[in-house]
């Protein structure tokens, strides 16, 4: 396009042929610089992978990696996770951490996914433009609240004023100040705005002609929303669910504040638990001896976390991309 420099003035007949010019060099220099900025994202990913892999899977000879010290079989089949205990009592089985993460993700999904989808349906199918323009910024606000605030809310409001009275005083179950339920609930609240806005985009992408066709067949608004629009948008909705759940899995602070306990293989939401993220935060708060197995275990856990969330993100991005193509 305009990459060829302008014709030089000093020539009597201006030539269109490319000649050396500072401007062209400068343009190329700038383009190169901008390219490097874009490349930084790849570098970031590669360095995440490099850092995690060198500590967890393969190391340069003098050092040993986590999986060279602890076998994969023990990592995935052992049911105890006690890397901070005394030497002979250490066990490195990630199952309890996965179980804790699963519990939190499950509770948050039960709350956040239906609520988010309902809000999305309401905003895209029912709400007047005025209501929409009021609700959207509120959702953004809800999404913009730092996770630590939700953690505080779970620990100091939800547990003492809701969970303990209901489950302990009414049903007589044992609940402590730290429990998975409080953490799960606030993580669920946290993912509501994400599910709502992603799903709403997906629902709005369903062409209006489908809605009209539905009405012309004698559908009520509910028939159109629930039997035409939502099924038509199903793949996109599921992708947004997946993105939200991956966020639940990676959520740290709210859970660390409200639910921290010992790693345990439990699915009781009233127990205190430990997730992958809680473990990382807890260990990093103290001094970690460089090169210790404990330190390497951090990287192994982070690697598992990274792989799970990355996998979920990639799948949902792909589904969303295909979905957008269908309704373009």
């Amino acid at each position: 396009m305009a990459s060829a420099g302008p014709a030089r003035r000093e020539q009597s007949t201006p030539s269109l042929r490319r000649t050396f010019s500072w401007q062209r060099t400068r343009e190329q220099f700038i383009q190169g610089g901008l390219f490097c900025c874009a490349l930084l994202s790849i570098v970031t990913t590669l360095s995440i992978i490099y850092v995690l892999v060198t500590e967890a899977i393969v190391s340069l000879p003098p050092d040993t990696s986590f999986f060279q010290e602890i076998g994969l079989v023990e990592f995935f089949s052992e049911t105890r996770w006690t890397p901070q205990y005394a030497e002979e009592q250490r066990h490195y089985g990630i199952l309890p951490l996965l179980c804790g993460t699963l519990l939190i993700t499950g509770i948050s999904g039960l709350i956040g996914l239906p609520a988010g989808l309902m809000i999305a349906i309401y905003l895209s199918e029912y709400a007047t433009p005025r209501t929409r323009s009021l609700c959207k910024p509120m959702l953004e606000l809800l999404a913009g609240i730092p996770t630590i605030v939700y953690g505080y809310f779970a620990l100091k409001v939800l547990t003492p004023f809701f969970i303990v009275p209901v489950f302990k005083h009414t049903f007589g179950l044992s609940v402590g100040g730290f429990n998975a339920l409080a953490g799960g609930i606030v993580v669920g609240i946290m993912i509501i705005p994400m599910v709502a806005s992603l799903s709403e985009d997906v629902l709005r992408a369903v062409p209006n002609s489908l809605r009209e066709a539905g009405y012309a067949l004698g559908s009520t608004k509910f028939d159109v929303s629930a039997k035409i629009v939502v099924p038509s948008a199903l793949s996109g909705i599921l992708a947004s669910f997946l993105l939200a759940l991956s966020r639940s899995i990676g959520e740290t602070m709210a859970v660390a504040i409200a639910s921290t306990g010992q790693p345990a293989l439990t699915l009781n939401p009233l127990d205190a638990i430990q997730t992958m993220t809680i473990f990382i935060v807890n260990v990093m708060q103290g001094e970690v001896v460089a090169g210790s197995t404990l330190e390497k275990s951090l990287y192994a856990v982070a690697l598992v976390l990274f792989i799970i969330t990355l996998g979920m993100n990639m799948v949902s991005q792909m589904v969303l991309a295909r979905y957008r193509e269908v309704y373009q």
């Binding site: 396009m1 305009a2 990459s3 401007q23 400068r26 700038i30 383009q31 610089g33 901008l34 490097c36 900025c37 874009a38 490349l39 930084l40 994202s41 790849i42 970031t44 990913t45 360095s47 995440i48 850092v51 609520a115 309902m118 309401y122 029912y126 609700c135 509120m138 913009g144 609240i145 730092p146 996770t147 630590i148 605030v149 505080y152 100091k156 409001v157 609240i189 509501i192 009520t220 509910f222 028939d223 929303s225 629930a226 993105l243 966020r247 990676g250 959520e251 602070m253 504040i257 990382i280 990093m284 460089a290 090169g291 951090l298 982070a302 976390l305 990274f306 969330t309 990355l310 993100n313």
Partner: protein, 332 residues
């Protein structure tokens, strides 16, 4: 072939009921979540009431609830966000400009694009681990940190390699964390600029960069600024990565030990030294207070949260102001 008419009429009443019930359920969920926001804010506000004093804003931290203050975290957070902005904005906008204006749809471009969306979904704690390894430890290059002194003529400052748990390590980590968000927002803003503007500029003989610099960027600026501020306010609230870096939550001194504006003006060296000093941040202080179960600290942490939220509201307010102000001016 006719549908049972009697049957149909009866069903129709039910269908209308069901539809109404569903609509109310959706409406209820929506307003309930909005109500939750109010409960959350009011609950925290009530806890913080009476504790959010001028003294709280100007004191350093303390083990006694009544004497705890947030000045160290406030200044630490401002330093962090300032440095993050300096690093992340040019890099992020540059990447967005490359992807939107220069890149041809090659396989590499697609890879970069996919990679950016995926990075946006990586848990922040993983960035913490990355920052810890790369910036704080620098892959454990040296067993003991080595001190360097650097002179800029009129001031001199010192830093260590590996960097350790200093402001720049935190800022660099937050930069990596917020880059994908900034890039995506900036790309959207650039995409909203009509192609006709570019064509007009190119047709006048402007080079690509001149077109971007003088036409496209100014037109996209409000959108870019909004996205940048939103991304930075998200970074401001991040706790986990800083915690993983090992930033000192209990610290009670300001980075660079700057005592005030006059101090900063009379000792410019402290300003240069601050980025290489230890730090704490508002969310870190809140976390340490929340974890402290001794009496009174639930109020202190609530007051800290209010300070954090006020800073966020100020930032978001600026973003909204910019959006409103400039969107009206430029209409295509």
């Amino acid at each position: 072939m006719n549908l049972h008419d009697d049957f149909y009429e009866r069903k129709l009443v039910l269908r209308h009921r069901l539809g109404q019930a569903f609509e109310w359920l959706c409406r209820l969920t929506t307003w309930l979540s909005m109500g939750l926001l109010a409960v959350l804010l009011l609950g925290i506000g009530r806890q913080a009431w009476g504790w959010l004093t001028f003294g709280f804003l100007t004191r350093g931290n303390s083990y006694i609830a009544e004497e705890a203050g947030i000045v160290a975290g406030l200044c630490g957070s401002l330093w962090l966000i300032g440095l993050t902005a300096i690093m992340a904005v040019p890099l992020g906008v540059g990447a967005a400009v490359y992807l939107e204006e220069y890149a041809r749809p090659t396989r590499l471009t697609k890879l970069i694009q996919l990679n950016i969306s995926n990075l946006a979904g990586v848990p922040s704690i993983v960035y913490g681990i990355l920052g810890f390894t790369v910036f704080v430890r620098m892959f454990g290059l040296r067993d003991r940190p080595e001190k360097f002194v650097c002179s800029l003529g009129f001031v001199e400052f010192s830093f260590e390699l590996p960097l350790g748990r200093v402001v720049v390590s935190g800022a660099a980590t937050l930069t990596l964390l917020s880059l994908p968000v900034i890039i995506i927002a900036a790309q959207e803003a650039l995409r909203a600029v009509p192609a006709s503007l570019r064509h007009a500029s190119l047709a006048l003989g402007a080079t690509k960069w001149q077109t971007v610099r003088h036409q496209v960027l100014p037109a996209a600026l409000p959108g870019i600024l909004t996205g940048v501020i939103l991304a930075l306010s998200r970074a401001l609230g991040e706790t986990a990565p800083l915690l993983v870096l090992g930033a000192a939550a209990q610290l009670s001194v300001v980075p660079g030990r700057i005592a005030g504006i006059t101090d900063a003006l009379t000792h410019p060296g402290k300003l240069v030294q601050a980025p290489f000093d230890q730090f704490t941040a508002i969310p870190l202080q809140i976390y340490s207070w929340v974890s402290d179960s001794s009496r009174g600290f639930e109020h202190v942490s609530a007051a800290g949260i209010v300070v954090l939220l006020v800073v966020l509201v100020l930032m978001n307010g600026t973003a909204i102001f910019i959006r409103q102000r400039f969107q009206k001016k430029i209409r295509w």
